[in-house]
Symmetry: C2
Subunit: 332 residues, 2 copies
């Protein structure tokens, strides 16, 4: 199992990326880790020399504010693009990047390439839930407009991912909607609902936005626009509430004292709401495994992303998805 | 100014509806209040007999779990439908109901009727914001699918409402989107953006879901499906966080003590997040003013809805909207 890591992508690159890779190399001897990036900068960061870590030189870097499509097309020697090419050429089984999300989606599409039969790959992060299990939501921004058949493929791919990578037997797949009744929703969800009923998955019907946090499903299917609105409103509400709480709690010496007593509970809650805790987001529907690690990933987050990639590879995720998608597409 | 109140709609009807109407009658002698409902049940509730309150008999009631379209079509003598007919016939200038939302939207469409030039009326509640001002969001569920021209009309109507009813000069109108740049979004928002720039409103561009609570605009425009997801995820996140906080705060005697100290602050925050505080939601784009009061309205909420209706009527809201919509439509 060879995993290529974009050593230059992310707010804490390349230092944390290298540290995370070194920790992962020590933890799992059955994987080979390929650090893709500027050799001159990476070499001095290798504080140890595990046999299963190798530097692959890439001269340039895609920056956080680069325009995605332009950057991927022009910077052919960027660490992210080189890692993508290694996946396409079979030199790596997976790539991980904490860099520019738009550029990574473009690399997935233009460099790694779509899986046969998949029209639209999906960005599939975990949304935190109150029960701590989280829900895999897709699509959360790779494609703004979706057709019914795209959502059908999201449902299939998400279900397989949860089963293979998270070990959930029969993951509950829900359709994000404005009501629980089958005939609720817009044109898209009304068309998709009966199609999801026909799939070989555990479809639990419509799920309302207010129930997502309560953990009412393991996979949540939606178009990229709505998914993005959902994720950002969850994040925004949590963020706004915490900042007002902070204000209220620092009003006087006795509220400060009381807040100090409650701090462990508040910290638990904040951690529960932190989607960084849930590891990288897979880009599903590509000709290889591509994982997006959070932009502010530290060494532990990178190590976790490697763990996730290793589990996915061990369970032959991509091949399973390809078989299922092939079966569903040809069965039409 | 004659305001018809569906006396039988809402969780606390008819008692609280009557109490609210009596309070409003005392507060404002320049309005006439028409209590529409079962005379035999309403008569005994009239603890005082103000000259500006009158009962209008309606034999039946639309229940919370009635199927909207069927109920409005069949129960022609239901209090909600009778109130709607009074608006259509010019016997009332406005109607207020705390009853079944779907049935009220249907009453608006089928009984009151659409305003000339308006294709899709919009349900326009206030979403609470951290600065306490709130944002009028439309559409939040009247129409699941929207065309660009619908969103253009939502923007116009919402802007006029905020100016006339809430006294905000040049309300800031935002388009709910996945990024702030002009070219972001799905097909719908990309098409709408340049159209909103051409309107005689203060268009502030795209607004992301995470910034809505921070009060970054006064009017938020979106299609009904996305709006519904946004509102429910705001409510759901706030609700889930409060329930986990409660759990954390009652872990032991000392966390309970600390929580008691912080209670006033928490209550302020909870009140800030309570959309009932913001009064009724207008259904905009109809041939008369229709206000949806919250289902759990108490007497004060009904009185507030009457206040809101009175302000709208004083500022000739419906006529202003009709003129603007006419101007924009004919100007094409």
């Amino acid at each position: 199992m060879r995993i290529a890591i974009d050593a230059m992508g992310g707010d804490n690159a390349p230092e944390c990326n290298v540290q995370g890779v070194l920790a992962a190399a020590q933890a799992w001897s059955d994987i080979e880790l390929l650090l893709v990036g500027d050799e001159a900068r990476l070499e001095p960061l290798l504080t140890s020399r595990p046999a299963n870590v190798r530097i692959v030189h890439a001269a340039s870097t895609i920056e956080a504010d680069d325009e995605p499509v332009k950057a991927v097309r022009r910077k052919k020697d960027a660490s992210m693009v080189v890692a993508g090419r290694m996946v396409r050429e079979g030199e790596a089984d997976c790539m991980i990047s904490a860099g520019n999300t738009g550029a990574l989606m473009t690399t997935g599409l233009l460099v790694v390439g779509r899986m046969a039969g998949v029209e639209r790959p999906a960005l599939s992060p975990m949304i935190p839930t109150m029960d701590g299990r989280g829900v895999l939501a897709l699509d959360l921004g790779a494609n703004m407009d979706a057709k019914p058949e795209h959502l059908v493929q999201y449902a299939l791919m998400g279900s397989i991912y949860r089963e293979k990578v998270h070990g959930i037997p029969k993951p509950r797949v829900g359709l994000l909607n404005v009501g629980t009744e089958a005939m609720k929703g817009n044109e898209l969800t009304k068309q998709v609902y009966p199609m999801l009923e026909q799939l070989p998955i555990h479809f639990v019907g419509n799920v309302e936005a207010r129930d997502v946090l309560e953990g009412s499903c393991d996979v949540l299917v939606c178009d990229g626009f709505v998914g993005n609105v959902l994720l950002k409103s969850l994040e925004g509400t949590a963020g706004s509430l915490f900042s007002v709480l902070k204000q209220e709690f620092t009003r006087s010496w006795y509220t400060k004292l009381a807040a100090a007593v409650l701090m462990p509970g508040l910290k638990r809650l904040k951690k529960m709401m932190d989607y960084k805790e849930h590891g990288g987001a897979p880009l599903l529907g590509l000709n290889g495994l591509v994982l997006k690690a959070h932009g502010s990933s530290d060494a532990r987050a990178i190590e976790n992303a490697v763990r996730q990639a290793r589990t996915a590879l061990q369970h032959d995720l991509i091949h399973t998805i390809a078989t299922e998608i092939g079966g569903t597409t040809s069965g039409k």
